[in-house]
Subunit: 297 residues, 2 copies
């Protein structure tokens, strides 16, 4: 690696592993490492994994960016808790990585990192007002406004998955009722299917297999979930009026199944001047570690 | 008036009149005029009223700010239509006032002007991230972010009254279903009361008189509307995470009737870290013309 090129280390904390990529501003990859972690890892065990991973990279790294699932405390650089790493509690990830590496560490939640990654390395470079909606286990969201992640007053950014679309509707993982996430997310689809049929399915792949098999209940649940997603998109458009909305995450693998119906509904419910000028598309799935690295740019 | 002080003319277009105030940056009032207008005024008649009003002010005015009901075309300075001035159509208000006065004219919708007025002359000076919710005939909203009105990509700002809270709920004036405005606004309360009881009431004063008289249906409708308002506030907090929310508009005259219930519900449904840090209060009702003038600052 030429010593003149500035490189940035992106670290993406997931449920089963921590991934790290060393890239430059253009997204050129110099080194990539994966550290498997136990879902029951304690703070100390998690720290050992982090150390082992980070020490594989050269000391020439300019800065380090880290993305983790929430809830996080953005100001103090702490993972408060993670539903995928159940024994982790108030882990000061920024302080620990700084201590290990002596580098400046940038930090944000994984949805915000995904959004920033789409902005820098996807098809949305230069879009001044971009919302990225992550349709995965949950429903995450990140807003890139004027080239940076919009963090809001307390640094929680856009938690659009937990906005109410169906007052007094289905119970969400957050404890409230009728959140967008309780319908259009893997968790939402699986829970609604269980509720309606009594049958358990374990993931989105199984759910969309049922759709392919013309399962009446699955189709009804998806159709309602698409309407909820449309209402969420309407609310985001009528609230912050973005230039572009991009969908990422596991559920976009089936985007072609619901794209037409989603757009039909949106055309019906969004103010025409706003809908006609909006670009909406499926993203190109930038790796989380790239998004995390772009926190440093 | 000392000639050194810069003065700004604020023009507030309402349903029954156009009000204009000449003020300085500190909100000191130098002159105030009101021009009654006919609700059926045509573009030409409206223009004549505007001329008559504007010509009453001295030529030393630095700039002019205008606030009008929407929908407006922000970029081209046009009132597309106004539900209170039914014969007005695509009126180029910025170009006309510029032509009459030879001054620079700033323009925005009335809800945004109200928000900016609260920011400059209310109790929210210096709040970096302020949402003002106008509870009147409709439900308007303005977001002051880093000292300026947030206009979004197409200049429509925050149209939060037309975000969906009750999927497939009551029909709204905008033609969609379940918007916040179709519950918590004068129009919403009056229409829901008519729907439930078959009885017509003509304004918010009558509605809140029924509340005082312990009318069961009115109380049930208000209670549901307060829940909808709480869900709207939740959605705004989880979407843009403001530092402060201020309520203005006619329905805040009865704020003490629903304040406790609104806050109780919000404490239940908003993420604690966000609710605990939010300031929420009733505004001090800055005149629309002051808000319009502050577009020039």
């Amino acid at each position: 690696m030429a010593s003149e090129v500035e490189t940035f280390l992106g670290i993406d904390v997931g449920g089963g592993s921590i991934k790290a990529s060393l890239i430059d501003r253009n997204g050129k990859l110099y080194q990539e490492e994966v550290e498997p972690i136990n879902r029951l890892a304690t703070n100390q065990e998690f720290l050992n994994h982090l150390k082992s991973l980070v020490n594989k990279f050269p000391d020439t790294v300019k800065k380090i960016g880290v993305g983790t699932p929430g809830p996080i405390d953005f100001d103090s650089g702490i993972i408060i808790h993670s539903s995928n790493l159940s024994n982790l509690s108030n882990f000061p990830i920024v302080a620990e990585i700084s201590r290990i590496t002596n580098k400046q560490v940038m930090f944000n939640n994984d949805a915000n990192c995904a959004a920033l990654g789409e902005y820098h390395f996807g098809n949305s470079k230069g879009i001044n007002n971009l919302i990225v909606i992550a349709l995965g286990t949950g429903l995450g969201c990140g807003w890139i406004y004027q080239g940076s992640i919009y963090n809001g007053f307390r640094g929680n950014g856009m938690e659009a998955g937990h906005t109410t679309i169906v007052k007094d509707g289905a119970v969400c993982g957050c404890g409230n009722k009728g959140c967008a996430e309780s319908y259009f997310s893997t968790r939402g689809l699986v829970n609604r299917y269980k509720e309606q049929t009594g049958k358990s399915i374990s993931n989105a792949k199984e759910f969309f297999k049922l759709i392919e098999e013309n399962d009446i209940e699955a189709k009804r649940i998806l159709s309602y979930a698409v309407e909820v997603l449309a209402e969420l998109v309407r609310n985001l458009i009528h609230t912050v009026n973005p230039e572009k909305i991009v969908f990422v995450g596991g559920l976009t693998r089936s985007y072609s199944i619901y794209e037409v119906e989603l757009k039909r509904k949106l055309k019906e419910i969004v103010f025409p001047v706003l809908w006609d000028n909006l670009i909406m598309e499926k993203g190109i799935e930038i790796a989380g570690a790239y998004g995390a690295a772009s926190l440093c740019f």
